[in-house]
Symmetry: C2
């Protein structure tokens, strides 16, 4: 049975609510406005959903003032599209124009905004970057010297980390159809094919099930295990005794899933079965612990204890899960030191992984929603035993 496809887009009330929540946080941080430059940020407040960000040439700006609706300062090529959103103050310039790519228009727009605190937020800190030339950022700082430019990265990370029902529906849908595709994989993957063949077949399967596209789908394989999880697919041909992992971030209406599945070909040895079981139980431990009030570090510890008892010595991934939604990976991170308190409405991944046999890895991943009563699986739980493809 195919999962129910949610409506595309959002009701206007969604953007009003996002903007209001942001403005409350901006008030607390004494910001007159936030100046945003990245795809996910511009989309969050406007609903402007386009693949055109693939072109790195032109900068795009969205101003969120302390009161009222966001203001778009964008290249003319985007005006027709931005007009279809709830934004009505749209200012544009013909871009590319390297001498002044929107900067004077942006500065004039910022100068029109009411001043209360004399502070403008930009995302300067963790997990952020400015999608504009650094030279132009300096120009803004210099030209607006009467204003203080302060970091609002954390504000934005926190704001976006708690999802609305409508956002969760989109993530749940892409998680469900991707789970179905993983479950169907033994029907279209077999020994003798290359990693690239299998990944291509899964891309097509995901499209046929209703995914919009698959920006991320990597694989790794090897006899008895794999040693890397971000480089594939390669041209390696699957053989009896191999273990294959596929990890995918597929998208529906701008929202991602991000989880993986492992498969053995022909047969599975005792070591790989044992390691799979350890990492599976580690995920269980994370599922049992994750709930509002508990920290990312608590969840990390619960998962790590199981891995360590199973013989893990390290984890090159650097974390064992992260936020998820409008981007493949979002704040927070499940690490030993992150200590972010989970809240109802957060969508995160549980991604325990361990080394074994020297240079091998075993990584599992599930996507969950934090609810008032605990963790709700959005992905369909991986098989308790390593699936074998005959």
């Amino acid at each position: 049975m195919s999962p129910n496809r949610p409506d595309r887009g959002f009701a206007r009330a969604e953007f009003e609510a996002r903007t209001e929540r942001a403005q409350q946080m901006m008030h607390a941080q004494q910001l007159d406005a936030m100046l945003l430059t990245s795809e996910a940020q511009v989309r969050y407040f406007s609903g402007f959903l386009t693949q055109f960000w693939q072109s790195p040439t032109r900068p795009w700006f969205l101003l969120v003032p302390l009161a009222g609706k966001p203001i778009a300062v964008i290249p003319t090529i985007g005006v027709a599209g931005m007009r279809s959103t709830w934004i009505d103050d749209i200012r544009s310039w013909s871009s590319p124009q390297p001498q002044d790519d929107g900067i004077s228009l942006l500065l004039a727009t910022i100068r029109e905004l009411p001043r209360r605190f004399g502070r403008i937020g930009m995302t300067l800190g963790k997990e952020s970057y400015l999608r504009m030339p650094a030279r132009d950022f300096k120009l803004i700082e210099t030209d607006l010297s009467e204003l203080e430019i302060v970091d609002c990265a954390e504000l934005m990370l926190k704001l976006c980390s708690v999802k609305s029902e409508a956002e969760i529906d989109k993530i749940r849908y892409i998680c469900e159809l991707t789970s179905d595709s993983f479950n169907a994989l033994p029907g279209f993957a077999s020994a003798g094919q290359t990693e690239r063949d299998i990944v291509r077949a899964m891309r097509i399967d995901l499209l046929q099930r209703g995914a919009d596209h698959t920006p991320y789908i990597v694989s790794a394989s090897g006899p008895g295990g794999y040693g890397d999880i971000i480089m594939g697919p390669g041209d390696r041909r699957l053989d009896d005794g191999d273990v294959l992992i596929i990890d995918t971030g597929s998208v529906f209406d701008g929202y991602y899933c991000d989880f993986d599945r492992n498969y053995a070909f022909g047969k599975a040895g005792d070591i790989i079965k044992m390691v799979y079981d350890t990492v599976y139980r580690s995920t269980d431990a994370g599922l049992a612990v994750a709930r509002p009030g508990v920290t990312t570090t608590d969840v990390w510890l619960a998962m790590w204890k199981v891995l360590e008892a199973g013989g893990a010595t390290s984890n090159d991934v650097g974390r064992m899960g992260h936020g998820l939604g409008a981007q493949l990976t979002e704040w927070p991170s499940l690490t030993a030191t992150d200590r972010t308190r989970l809240e109802a409405g957060m969508v995160i991944t549980l991604e325990p992984g361990m080394d074994f046999a020297g240079d091998r890895l075993m990584v599992h991943e599930e996507n969950i929603l934090i609810t008032d009563s605990g963790a709700e699986l959005l992905s369909k739980r991986a098989a308790a035993e390593l699936p074998i493809i005959d």
Copy 2:
């Protein structure tokens, strides 16, 4: 007949040649090193090709010194992959680590480099952004106060704009198979389908022909024409008398095509036929003019004259073509004022577009290689008359 698939990856000599060319230019600009942070830049010098850049969480750094091989300063999750490239000096830290996400390791590495000019290049100017927190960029500037940080955006744009034979082979291959897919489209698209249906079918067709993936595929349609070229596909159902455009950037081994095709459904009126013909002849004018020594502005002018004679009054796209290769759009831009001199080995798009009937657009696009003798088409030329899908 399927086009011949080129080998994946590059010979080591390719990276040596790229590094040497860069070092010559660095010498002229008196740079001790370049510090690079973006996907295309890191890949250009290392060959490190991964979809993992979809995760915005972790910064990645590549240092190109004035002599010798590049040095990677990267999260541990990338070490296994980077080891498979020609880079051998790989330094890593466990990321994410918001308090110090690689910055102290990066600073220590920069301090080890030989000093001759006391200047480090970073891409700060046009068509660039730093894929790292702006706060950390400031830390680098402050901490390395004995060094001057200068803009090397133009150096990198120029360096990457002239393609090697191996790069051109990859672009030619993706252009050819995408041309074949566009030519096959009338066989899988028909009135009654939605834009989204048709784009999904074309995604699958591209995968089946050998594209690795399609990061960019937009569509627009409407009775007698369309008014936007970056927002779709939408759920609009194609009907008799509609005009549909699909524009795609598909990828083989990290290299893009970027061109579009127009189709009419059932019938085409005189106005749309005339506008199609005008834009087609505008492309011809560009093809006739483009060659080494001619500027982007000359090509723009040649194309614009035909459009203006055909009744064009404006072009919201902001340019009529651009560089192409490791990214969907690269420097330079074909505008009235760009004035970049074309060189043999550059791959660019010709993308004339015009407004008509108030709010309608007609855009064509071809991908070409600049050769010693002129322009060589990499895409198979669009039909001289607007194709009609019955």
